[in-house]
Each structure stands twice: as structure tokens, then as C-alpha cells.
């Protein structure tokens, strides 16, 4: 784009992080003009029923790994009125404005709305289907005390273009009349209030660019320039991720939906980079076997589409005894496979500089929240210190020393046709 000079880019990137209506508007005014984004279809029935359908709509790297949208925002919303027919019309109008205005892909906008168990509990007498695994969020380790996100709804918007992301947010929050040339037909903030706004980014170079500015990254900014994440390695290798089909509910009123756990994890990387060698980091992120066999170069680009973790899962006790350390991926993989070896979770996490603190927003999609909980519990590695005191509750135990879970929430990503204030039974009132 000819108008996408560095200054403009910097302004926009900063604006996603700054947020707030004033910040956004000032930024957009400063930029002037609208960049071109592909528009959505006229016939909305051509859109997928799965709100979480990103496959084929995001970039893939040369190995077939999903390259997630570079800019993402999470809006946690509470209803200001009951879920009436009028309120549903408003929500649908707001969301279908996005559908029409912007192509549902990384150049336009990927978006979804999901609802919490608290929403269904607060606003309805009926219960969710018994076989839907959507509990209230809770602490998932013996050493965390997270704030529990129990807002009614979670809107997740994502784009490679930060100004598109900002404009979409402005449309949702009633601060724009048009979006990419399309009239804004409704605002979510007509029926919701924004309880919490969280932003983030992911992609090679982006953590490094912010490394000097955020609390949590040590002086000297040791983050590798090629890394898509603060901790210096790629993640989410295709072979270690569940497919969209796998995580999608296949029956019941919410078929084509999925469950979504979102945590926020503060990162404290002074000791990660300051006290650990590259090999130490590989051991703790992947497994001691990865170091033994020299499997990881740089940020792990050479791993292709598979971290290779599966073959080291059974070695975890031996590794704990021999190396006094175990790997993060090694622990988690223990619970992240079905009987046939298929991964259960589709992890789509991205980094954040919210409040100038390095953190990770961690959305994970799966058929049931219990699957996520089991993987997190495996990652806690509370069994490993029993094997050797060299591995402690949070030291030498994967990456637990460097991450602090601050928030957890569970949500149901309903199918698109039920996205406007659904009932627990999926019936239209």
C-alpha cells in the first residue's frame, strides 16, 4: 500500500495497544483516509456456520502451520439489558455489518462472539445441554489464583491490518457510521458494555520490536528477532494442533460451535533469558531429548510442521532423573492426545503488551473444557517433583517459573446462526 509508510504503521500499531475511544479516533484521524480492505460477500449465507473457521482464511507458512492474524483484540462484554428480540436484532445487525464490510480472512477481519456459562445461567431458566462440557472457569493449578472472567460474552476480532481491526472495533462500539464503505447497522454497545478490552499481536519480529518497551523482558532485549513469541520459539506446529473439524461440536443445538478457554498469562523473562542458555531453554520449552538430539535451531523454524514432542513423552520420568528438568511441551502432550494420537486442543495464542507488561492471551479451542483442563493439569507437572526434588513446583518444571496465570474464562463459541444472544437450548425465543 502506497500510504503505508513506517510512520503511519507505527501510529496504527501503537493505537491498537493504546485503545480506548479517544486513542482510536485520534489515531484514525491522524492517519487520514481509509486503507483498502477486501469487503465481505453480499450473500451472507455463503459464510461458514463455524465462527472459528480460520483454516484457509489465515496465512500458512511454508510448512502448513497456521500463521495467526498479526493483530488481535478481545472485548469482554456484559449485557446492559435482558436478551430480548430487539437486543438480538441489534447484536445481529452489529455482527452482520462486520460480515458485509470485511472479508472473513486475515486481510479483512476474522471475528467471533462466544458466551460464558454465567451468561446462560444469569439470563435463562433452562439449562445448557447436559453433554456440553462448559463449566465455570476455575484455578487449574495448586499455585495459581486467577481472576475468573465471567462476563456475558467475548468478542474476538483479528486481522493482519491494525487499522482494519481498530475500525471494526469502532463500528462495534458505536463510534463509526460506516465501515469499509458499508453502513454500520448496529453497535454491540447498544446492548452491552465493554467490561475489559485486551489486545495483542503475534508474528515474527513483533515481540522483538516491543521488547524494549514492555515490563517483563530484561534489559538488552534478548528476544530473537525471528521469534513470533516473547519466549523465543515458534509454537502451534500443525501436527501438534487439533484440526478445526476435531474441535467442532458435531451434534446438539450448538453443532458447528466449539468451546473456548481463554487465559491471560503474564511473562517474566529476566531469568528465562538471563540465567538460562539456549539449550536450557530448549529443554524447558520442548524436552531434554530435543537438546540431546540437537533438534531445535534458532526459533525452531527447522522443526517444520511438528515439534517432534510425541516421541519424548514417555521419557519424562527418565529425563527428570537424568537432567533435573522436564519440558513444557513434553508435559502438556501427555494429556493432549486421544487414543489414536490426535491432538485435542487447537491453540491460537498471541502476545500482549497491555498495560506495558509482557503477557500472553491464550485462547484454546476444544470440544469440551475438560480437555483443556486436563492438558493444563498435565502441564503443571505436579507429579514430577515426586520423582526428583531437582524438579520443583515451578522451577526446572517446564516454563512454570516464568509464567503467571492472571485470568481464566470459559466460553461457548456458538454456531454463526445462533450468535445473537442464544438461549441455552439453542431454541429461538
Amino acid at each position: 500500500m502506497s500510504d503505508a509508510g513506517p510512520t503511519r504503521r507505527d501510529v496504527v500499531k501503537a493505537a491498537v495497544a493504546v485503545g480506548g475511544a479517544v486513542g482510536l479516533s485520534a489515531c484514525i484521524d491522524a492517519i487520514g483516509g481509509e486503507s483498502t480492505a477486501p469487503t465481505g460477500p453480499d450473500d451472507l449465507s455463503t459464510l461458514p456456520e463455524r465462527q472459528h473457521a480460520w483454516k484457509g482464511r489465515v496465512r500458512e507458512d511454508e510448512f502448513g502451520n497456521e500463521a495467526l492474524p498479526r493483530h488481535q483484540t478481545l472485548l469482554y462484554l456484559n449485557l446492559t439489558e435482558g436478551p430480548s428480540a430487539d437486543a438480538r436484532d441489534t447484536v445481529e445487525a452489529a455482527l452482520s455489518t462486520l460480515d458485509r464490510a470485511l472479508a472473513r480472512n486475515h486481510e479483512g477481519l476474522l471475528h467471533s462472539i462466544a458466551y460464558s456459562p454465567a451468561y446462560f445461567d444469569r439470563h435463562f431458566d433452562e439449562s445448557l445441554p447436559e453433554d456440553l462440557d462448559l463449566p465455570e472457569p476455575r484455578a487449574l493449578s495448586s499455585f495459581e489464583d486467577p481472576e475468573l472472567d465471567r462476563q456475558d460474552a467475548l468478542v474476538h476480532i483479528a486481522s493482519d491490518q491494525p487499522d482494519v481491526l481498530l475500525r471494526a472495533e469502532e463500528a462495534l462500539t458505536g463510534e463509526r457510521d460506516t465501515l469499509n464503505g458499508v453502513t454500520v447497522e448496529g453497535a454491540l454497545t447498544d446492548v452491552f458494555e465493554v467490561d475489559s478490552r485486551r489486545t495483542g499481536f503475534v508474528g515474527a519480529g513483533m515481540p522483538f520490536e516491543r521488547g524494549d518497551e514492555v515490563e517483563g523482558v530484561p534489559d538488552g532485549n534478548p528476544i530473537p528477532e525471528a521469534s513470533p513469541l516473547f519466549m523465543g520459539f515458534k509454537a502451534g506446529f500443525a501436527k501438534n494442533q487439533a484440526t478445526e473439524d476435531y474441535v467442532t461440536l458435531d451434534s446438539g443445538p450448538f453443532a458447528e460451535g466449539t468451546t473456548k478457554h481463554v487465559s491471560n498469562i503474564r511473562q517474566r523473562l529476566a531469568d528465562w533469558y538471563g540465567e538460562q542458555s539456549f539449550d536450557d531453554r530448549v529443554m524447558e520449552m520442548f524436552s531434554p531429548g530435543h537438546v540431546e538430539q540437537g533438534l531445535v535451531e534458532g526459533v525452531g523454524e527447522n522443526l517444520g510442521d511438528d515439534s517432534g514432542i510425541d516421541r519424548f513423552v514417555d521419557d519424562i520420568e527418565a529425563h527428570a532423573r537424568e537432567y533435573g528438568r522436564v519440558g513444557h511441551a513434553q508435559k502438556a502432550a501427555r494429556a493432549n492426545r486421544d487414543a489414536d494420537g490426535n491432538p485435542l486442543l487447537l491453540r491460537r495464542h498471541f502476545e500482549s503488551a497491555d498495560e506495558n507488561v509482557a503477557s500472553l492471551h491464550f485462547p484454546s479451542l476444544q470440544r469440551g473444557i475438560g480437555q483443556f483442563e486436563a492438558v493444563r493439569q498435565a502441564m503443571n507437572g505436579e507429579d514430577i517433583p515426586q520423582i526428583t526434588p531437582a524438579v520443583r513446583q515451578r522451577v526446572n518444571n517446564g516454563i512454570l517459573e516464568y509464567i503467571f496465570t492472571k485470568k481464566r474464562g470459559n466460553f461457548l463459541v456458538v454456531p454463526r446462526s445462533l450468535r445473537a444472544l442464544p438461549t441455552p437450548t439453542g431454541d429461538v425465543e
Partner: protein, 356 residues
């Protein structure tokens, strides 16, 4: 779910008096520590210098009582496996923060869990770290780390403890499973820090001796009882890597220990020489033999009990006078060390003790 309590610092008086005039007080550099001795014994030794410490505050949350103290930044040694590596004082370190967690019902210091500190000032994050379990001569077991601060002022230190994974027995069974955190207000002034005593002790440095335990007021130390004051029968004593090991037995298993109804309980209480501080977080295996036959062979599990305190124990068929207990350390105590402890409790040769 969120258990937090608030308590202002106990040490506020001294700091408050000085806070307003910190700009007028001459700035003193951190006293420089003498170099590490070149000929340290592989044993507990008297350190090259002795620092005081200042209580910052205490707070209670859930089942736990927390205490927070500070001193000058320290050099200390991290232990990973069988090696101890020195962590030097960094240029931007202002203080060494120390936290302890104990059970207020029995005044038992709880070692061997995870502890983290979040430090904020005026709502801004200053730091958050998992801090390391440590042994020091005057305090014994505690959690500690050096931190840089953001100048004089009032800080909030959130102390968070993880649920204890160590086996808990007797009246401790089922306790300390949940995490908890408490906010402790910490008023810091460099001028107050610089009032903390600092004494070079080169005349005694390297002696086979230790600083005596500090008087910590309401805060219990990790001092273990004399052998005779521990429950059960004293069966023998031995030494490994300069740690004193007391072998005891109980006629019946404490609740929380699995074993047959006839089984007895054999346990080892490991403590520092001179001041009986608990030596936690090691891997210990034992073989009990009688007339050439092996009666028991296996791990002595890290265990917390309200009277036996932190120890290493196992269910065994029986313990008799004349039995031989062979002890083998699979992993030396995985705790960081303040000076004077960094060469002890690392090389721990197998030992045998004939039980009385």
C-alpha cells in the same frame, strides 16, 4: 476463590521516620562483601561477613502465615542437581527480599513448595518472580531473591504460596493443599536499608562453625527439635555431607502413610550442624537389613508432620535393635544457599548406621 488480606508493615516506624528526608541523607553504597574464601571446606563454615535484616511485615491468608524481611542484596548459590553456582549481585539490585511461610497453628515452617512475589508501587508492576528456596545460617529455610526497586516509597508485595505437594501426614493430612496470597505493605527507604548492620567477620571466616539463629520475634524459624523431642524412638544418628541425620521410628504408621496394618514408620530428620535448621528437598533412599536379609529397600519420602516436622520417611515391616540402615542420597538438597552453606550438603557419601 481469591483470598487476600492486607496488613501494613510492622517495620514502618524506622522507615517512616526517615522517608521524608531521604534526599538529605548521604547516600551510602551497598557495603562490599569480602571475596569468597579460596579454601572453603566441604562443610558448613562461618561466613566472611554478617548482615542484619529488617522485618517488613507479616500477613495471614488461608491456612498460612507469611513473613517478609529484607536486607542488602546478597550473593548466593543456586543448586541444580549436584552443582552450586553463584548468583552475583547485579548493579540494579537494591535489596535481598526474604519470605517465610508457616502454619500458625503449630508454628511449623513450610519448606518445599513454590513461592512467588509480586512487587508493585502505586499500581505499577515493579517485578514478579518465583523466588527460590534458600538456606541461611541465621534464618534457616526461607524463600529469597535480590530485587531492584523503583526508589524510596511504599510498595505492595503480594506473597503467593502454592499448595504443598510434599506428603503430609498426621494432623497435616489434607492441609496446605490450596494456594493463597497476601499483600504486605513494604515501606522502603535506602537510608533505612543502609542502617542495617553489616559486619566483616574475616577473623572467624572459614571456621567450622555457623552464625547462631536470629531472634525473629513472632516469626518461627525452621529449627528442628532436639532428637529426643521428636516423636518415637531414637534409633541412631549419622552425618552426610555435614548434614546431621537423626534416625527415628514409630510403632505405627501416621495417618497419610500407606502400608500394612503391622507396618512401622522409619524416618530420618535431616538438619544443619550447630543450629538444627531443616535440610529439605533431597532424594533419599534407604536399605534396612537384619541378619543379612533386606527388610526394606526404597525411597524415604519427603514428608511433613506436625511433630516430626519436615522429614524423610517410609513404611517398613519392622525396626529392630541391631538392624543396619544404609542411606544413599540420590539428589542433594535442592535449595539455594547463603554463604557458609554452599559447600555443605552437596557431596553426600553413602552411609550406614547400626540402629539401637
Amino acid at each position: 476463590m481469591r483470598r487476600r488480606t492486607y496488613l501494613t508493615g510492622l517495620a514502618g516506624v524506622g522507615a517512616t521516620a526517615l522517608a521524608g528526608c531521604s534526599g538529605l541523607v548521604e547516600t551510602r553504597a551497598i557495603p562490599s562483601s569480602p571475596p569468597v574464601l579460596s579454601n572453603r571446606p566441604s562443610a558448613v563454615y562461618f561466613p566472611t561477613h554478617v548482615e542484619g535484616m529488617q522485618m517488613s511485615g507479616m500477613a495471614k491468608s488461608g491456612e498460612y502465615q507469611f513473613g517478609l524481611m529484607y536486607s542488602y542484596p546478597h550473593r548466593f548459590w543456586n543448586v541444580n542437581g549436584t552443582s552450586a553456582s553463584m548468583t552475583e549481585i547485579q548493579d540494579d539490585d537494591d535489596i535481598h527480599l526474604m519470605a517465610t511461610v508457616w502454619d500458625p497453628e503449630t508454628n511449623t515452617v513450610l519448606p518445599d513448595t513454590g513461592l512467588s512475589l509480586e512487587i508493585s508501587k502505586g499500581g505499577d508492576l515493579v517485578s514478579e518472580e518465583v523466588i527460590y528456596p534458600m538456606l541461611s545460617q541465621p534464618m534457616g529455610f526461607h524463600y529469597g531473591a535480590n530485587f531492584g526497586l523503583d526508589g524510596d516509597g511504599i510498595y505492595t508485595v503480594t506473597v503467593s504460596v502454592g499448595g504443598v505437594n510434599t506428603r503430609r501426614t498426621g494432623a497435616f493430612e489434607g492441609r496446605f493443599a490450596d494456594p493463597a496470597s497476601a499483600d504486605i505493605e513494604f515501606e522502603y527507604a535506602q537510608s533505612a536499608r543502609d542502617e542495617i548492620s553489616f559486619e566483616r567477620t574475616m577473623d572467624r571466616a572459614g571456621e567450622a562453625a555457623a552464625r547462631p539463629p536470629m531472634e525473629m520475634g513472632m516469626m518461627p524459624l525452621s529449627v528442628l527439635p532436639e532428637p529426643a523431642d521428636l516423636p518415637g524412638e531414637t534409633r541412631g544418628e549419622t552425618s552426610m555431607g555435614d548434614a546431621r541425620l537423626v534416625v527415628k521410628s514409630l510403632e505405627t504408621l501416621p495417618s497419610g502413610v500407606e502400608g500394612g496394618s503391622d507396618a512401622q514408620y522409619l524416618y530420618v530428620s535431616a538438619r544443619t550442624p550447630y543450629n538444627r535448621m531443616v535440610v529439605p528437598a533431597m532424594g533419599l533412599e534407604g536399605t534396612l537389613t537384619r541378619d543379612g536379609e533386606t527388610v526394606f529397600e526404597g525411597e524415604l519420602l519427603r514428608t511433613l508432620h506436625p511433630e516430626a516436622k519436615y522429614h524423610y520417611g517410609a513404611a517398613v515391616p519392622s525396626v529392630e535393635s541391631g538392624d543396619t540402615l544404609s542411606l544413599s542420597v540420590t539428589v542433594p538438597p535442592q535449595v539455594a544457599r547463603h554463604e557458609g552453606y554452599e559447600t555443605a550438603f552437596l557431596e553426600m557419601e553413602d552411609t550406614e548406621v547400626t540402629l539401637s
